[in-house]
């Protein structure tokens, strides 16, 4: 496990440096960053003063070295736009995204597993098709459109739930469901396929032949093994899930880091984008560590192998 942690951390450092480099290059190679966060009418003199104050007139390599160093030490400096510590801007808004992301992930997993088991075990073909249809649809509908439809139906027409994040717990429901729809339906399909295959696999048949009860086989053997691909999926998608919240946060006015990232990119607020990238990379790293643990708990044979990271998981 220790090796797994060390490898994850090494990878984290590589990720942070590589991603920071790309972002640094894009922001700097695309013109004057002050155009993003200063008013359009600001004079060349005022812009020059700002560039000098932010060190933007240093040679690029020096800025780069400073930038990478800052990323690795967790000191991102001040936001170019509002001159508040960039890391705080991200951390202030992290809880909202974490709340949305984690509840959506739990909903997706629970909902997906239930749907998946239903679809694998239902005897009635019509029901099975219905469940599979829901899973297919959840995977195919653009999230921003689904969100708008949810608002139209549940907030405006029915008046059951608030349309945007107003701080009440009920405001979480619609964005959470919207965010969960896609991963949930994928998990459902993974579970359904996995259970279907496992039910007919050798080791399950062996268990059956040893006289273990159906129920016991399902709970002890089939289900945990069917969960392995789900865990691999969640680990792989952790980064994408955070990305997915950008869209949801815009639709539902949810005050998370996704909207902050979008706004900061528009304004070329490099310190905030930088902090955002590093914080999310750490988040993804932690999720994957947790998944390493879960996988080795379910399947001891995977121990050590899981540590090889994404490629080994596949």
């Amino acid at each position: 496990m220790l090796i797994s942690i060390i490898k994850r951390i090494a990878q984290l450092i590589v990720t942070v440096v590589l991603a920071s480099t790309v972002i640094f290059a894009l922001i700097h190679l695309s013109g004057d960053p002050t155009q993003g966060f200063m008013p359009v009418g600001a004079s060349p003199d005022v812009r020059e003063a700002t560039r000098a104050r932010l060190g933007l007139d240093d040679p690029l390599w020096r800025q780069y070295v400073r930038f990478i160093g800052q990323g690795l030490t967790g000191d991102f400096g001040e936001s170019w736009r509002d001159r508040q510590p960039a890391l705080n801007a991200v951390l202030d808004r992290l809880p909202a995204t974490l709340l949305l992301g984690s509840t959506a992930l739990v909903t997706a997993t629970v909902g997906g597993v239930v749907l998946g088991i239903l679809s694998a075990s239902l005897r009635r073909r019509s029901l099975m098709v219905a469940v599979q249809g829901v899973a297919l649809a959840g995977q195919a509908i653009p999230t921003f459109w689904l969100g708008a439809m949810f608002i139209l139906i549940f907030a405006v027409r029915l008046g059951w739930l608030p349309s945007s994040g107003d701080g009440s717990p009920t405001a979480l429901i619609l964005p959470m469901l919207t965010l969960a729809a896609h991963p949930g339906s994928i998990i459902a399909r993974l579970i359904a396929t996995g259970m279907h295959d496992l039910q007919r696999s050798n080791f399950v048949r062996t268990a059956h032949s040893k006289g273990v009860s159906r129920r016991n086989v399902a709970v002890r053997h089939i289900f945990p093994n069917a969960m392995l691909p789900v865990l691999a999926y969640v680990g792989l998608q952790a980064g994408f899930l955070i990305g997915g919240t950008v869209v949801i946060e815009s639709v539902f006015a949810w005050p998370g880091i996704g909207r902050l990232a979008l706004q900061s990119a528009t304004q070329r607020d490099l310190p905030v984008i930088h902090a955002f990238v590093v914080v999310t990379a750490i988040g993804v790293c932690l999720v994957n560590l947790a998944i390493d643990l879960a996988v080795s708990a379910i399947d001891p044979r995977q121990r050590g192998r899981a540590a090889h990271g994404a490629l080994a998981n596949g």
Binding site: S30, G31, D32, P33, Q35, G36, F37, M38, P39, V40, G41, A42, S43, P44, D45, V46, A49, T50, R53, R81, D82, R83, Q84, A89, D92, R93, A96, A148, I151, L152, A155, V156, G159, P162, S163, S164, G165, D166, G167, S250, V251, F252, A253, P255, G256, R259, L260, Q263, T266, Q267, R268
Partner: protein
């Protein structure tokens, strides 16, 4: 109150500024005591995004100023008819537009309890001129602030700057001595109708009523004990908030959603603002250096049809760059270009472009693409074949003066109580954003900038308006309007010409 006004106006030159924009009876209406409705306990306002900054020297958007002018007061204030009225200044006057005499009202206190003195003016001017300020240019002309006594001061400029009072009304708000760069950015303390209470980053800002705001401010009285500004970027979501009573006031209501708001029993307010929409034509490149081509562009677009379909009825068309009677330089005798594709083709033929030509038009990604698409389709019928190019906002702004950028760009500009900023940046050939080259226009703009008398300035701008009609600097579209959805019981709030959403009760300008 009328007495104070007379005192304030009694001094020479500045009267010009006020008298010229509108006739005398409208001045009186600005001063009509606002209705005093009962104060609501709670008010939620959906803005279309978070403010970029709260520090006065960094503010540059309507969202910023909505918060700014709820918490702070400036020396001057735009009345609902566009006239400048003294706010925390009891008197504000000038003889030569170089020395501005300010006398502050007695007994005003900041939210932290400290008194408002003339030192606050120096403090604010210094802050706006500081190197960290993004608007240092606008106040750079101020050479000194002389504090005469506790309540009187003189703001002195190097050259006549008759446009300065308009800038003062936007930016020169006063803050107490205890203010720090950090507090200005995160917990502003002013003298305004609301105290700042809390900020939930990216989500909301909460203000509470300032009980001491009882001195009959022309800005109006607070509407609610507690106001929450929420930031909701998606228009459909703002509408949902209003119709489900999660918000009582929403901004930037799209024209196509007005019926949904009305069907839900809410009120739609659509008001012209002091701003304009136009397609800027770069005159530094062929064929746009030929004024006949620029006229042809104006004749080829059926602006009225586009406005009726996509902006809303009663949209006022633009004849040149002076959009609104409340702003300086508006000329009601100047007629907008009619839609006349035959005339356009004839002009193009005269310019040896009988077969039309190809060019590119740029706009900000995510802005009104439908307007541009509609205009482009009409221009194509006259043989002007345009490719649409979207640019992200920062890139778009950077490209204003860039002579390798597309020669046409769809843009909007606001606020324009005083056209000086726009003209000196965009039309003057030396402007930072300019791709316009017309020596006659330069002369008029520079003359108006240092002309101390407002009536004389207005005359110069009228001449400029006629010039820019004949030798167009843009395809002139329309005077911008702003649409709000409000809860029907919110009768005492009225839209402002500058679009700031300050939750105060006002007379509505038609009293």
């Amino acid at each position: 109150m009328p007495d104070e006004l007379e005192q304030a106006m009694g001094r020479r030159a500045f009267v010009g500024a006020l008298a010229l924009t509108v006739a005398g009876q409208r001045l009186a209406s600005a001063q009509a005591t606002p209705a005093r409705p009962e104060v609501q306990p709670e008010l939620v306002i959906d803005l279309d995004g978070p403010p970029d900054n709260l520090d006065p020297a960094l503010t540059y958007s309507v969202r910023d100023w909505s918060i700014l002018h709820s918490v702070y007061d400036a020396l001057l204030h735009f009345g609902e008819d566009g006239t400048l009225v003294p706010l925390i200044a009891e008197e504000f006057s000038t003889e030569d537009s170089k020395v501005f005499h300010v006398k502050l009202r007695e007994g005003l206190v900041f939210h932290d309890g400290s008194p408002v003195t003339s030192a606050a003016i120096t403090r604010s001017v210094d802050h706006l001129k500081a190197s960290e300020s993004q608007i240092a240019d606008l106040f750079g002309g101020i050479t000194e602030v002389r504090e005469i006594d506790e309540l009187t001061a003189e703001i002195v400029t190097g050259e006549p700057s008759a446009w300065l009072p308009s800038q003062i009304a936007v930016w020169l708000v006063v803050f107490p001595e205890s203010a720090t760069p950090d507090s200005l950015a995160t917990s502003p303390v002013g003298t305004g109708p609301y105290r700042f209470e809390a900020m939930d980053p990216g989500n909301s800002i909460t203000l509470v009523r300032n009980e001491d705001y009882t001195w009959g401010s022309p800005k109006g009285a607070a509407l609610a004990e507690r106001v929450t500004f929420r930031f909701v970027p998606e228009a459909a979501t703002r509408v949902a908030d209003l119709t489900t009573d999660a918000a009582q006031l929403i901004v930037s209501l799209p024209f196509d959603q007005t019926t949904a708001v009305e069907d839900a029993g809410k009120t739609v307010l659509t008001e012209p603002i002091l701003g304009m929409a136009f397609i800027r034509i770069a005159t530094d490149t062929a064929p746009f250096d030929d004024r006949r081509v620029r006229q042809a562009l104006n004749y080829s677009v059926d602006v009225q049809a586009i406005a009726d379909a996509l902006v809303g009825p009663n949209t006022r068309r633009l004849a040149s760059v002076f959009p609104d009677p409340r702003g300086l330089g508006f000329d009601e005798t100047l007629e907008p270009f009619p839609y006349d594709p035959d005339k356009a083709r004839q002009l193009l033929a005269e310019a040896d472009l009988a077969d039309g030509f190809d060019s590119t038009i740029q706009l900000v990604a995510g802005s009104r693409t439908d307007i541009v698409e509609a205009a482009v389709a009409q221009l194509a019928e006259a043989g002007i074949r345009l490719t649409i190019e979207t640019a992200e906002l920062a890139a778009f702004n950077q490209a204003w003066p860039d002579d390798s950028a597309p020669p046409l760009r769809y843009a909007t500009w606001r606020p324009m109580y005083d056209p000086h900023t726009f003209l000196s940046l965009v039309i003057d050939s030396a402007g930072f954003l300019s791709r316009h080259d017309n020596p006659k226009a330069d002369d008029l703009i520079r003359a108006a900038a240092i002309e101390p008398d407002q009536a004389a300035r207005a005359e110069l701008y009228h001449e400029l308006g006629r010039l820019l009609k004949d030798e167009p600097a843009a395809i002139y579209l329309w005077n911008l309007t702003s649409s709000y959805g409000i809860s029907p019981d919110l009768t005492s709030w009225h839209p402002r010409g500058d679009e700031y959403v300050v939750p105060v009760a006002t007379s509505g300008g038609d009293a």
